[in-house]
Amino acid sequence: MSQRATVNVVIRNKLGLHARPAMAFVDLAMSHASAVTVRRGSQEVDGKSIMQMMMLAATKGTELTLIAEGPDAEKACAALKELVDNGFNDE
């Protein structure tokens, strides 16, 4: 059964959503069946596309909304939120 889940997150790591964290996000999003959309203000990008994720230019402190739609939407949102909350394990 298809679900829809949304969660708000704040970028916490000092360097922001640069290439490696963006890649970690995309990898984790891809491991879920649900479609993942990331919203920053009025801008929306595909959370499974590294190129689109880099277009967010999300610095530390940026608020993003994660939207997952699909059979594992709740699980996808929870896992992605945890990654962002942990600062992408970025040094």
Binding site: G16, H18, A19, M23, M54, M55, A57, T59
Partner: protein, 158 residues
């Protein structure tokens, strides 16, 4: 931030001499040194750092483009070199496809916001089919320079 301002004068290699990833990165770093965007003293370290970054995960992000990059204390502002390889480069890209266009970006160490803005402007254009197609068709550095300016002026359609 404008793409045509990030790409250093004299740092457009169209075409690149090499088809091998490490050689391509070397050519682009050397072009940035030659045009004064990086210093000769730091050339080897920049090169080593870009290579090390590639080993941690390819910056061949798919669709025939790669964006190798490094942050370094000697770099004063966002400076990029562009290289074109019409025959394709094996960049160990995420989609396993050859890379035809490389944007190599140098950023200062302590300005993460500007680094993210530079990446945004690069990817905003590289994600457009039109931009990638025109870039692949560019015959020389002057063609690439014109394309960068058109992209900045938003003349190109998505």
């Amino acid at each position: 931030m404008k793409l045509s301002q990030i790409v250093a004068e004299g740092a457009i290699l169209a075409p690149l001499a090499s088809r091998e990833r490490d050689q391509v990165i070397t050519e682009l770093i050397d072009a940035l040194v030659a045009c004064g965007a990086a210093t000769a003293k730091n050339r080897d370290e920049l090169l080593a750092r870009v290579m090390e970054r590639e080993k941690r995960g390819s910056t061949g992000f798919g669709k025939g483009v790669a964006v190798p990059h490094v942050k370094h204390k000697s770099v004063k502002g966002m400076r990029a070199a562009v290289g074109l390889a019409p025959a394709g480069i094996d960049f160990n890209a995420l989609d396993r496809q050859p890379v035809f266009s490389v944007f190599l970006l140098l950023s200062p160490e302590d300005r993460p916001e500007e680094h993210l803005q530079a990446m945004e402007v690069i990817f905003k254009n590289l994600s457009k089919d039109t931009f990638r197609r025109f870039l692949r068709q560019a015959a020389n550095a002057a063609d690439v320079r014109t394309l960068l300016e058109e992209a900045d002026n938003q003349i190109l359609a998505g």
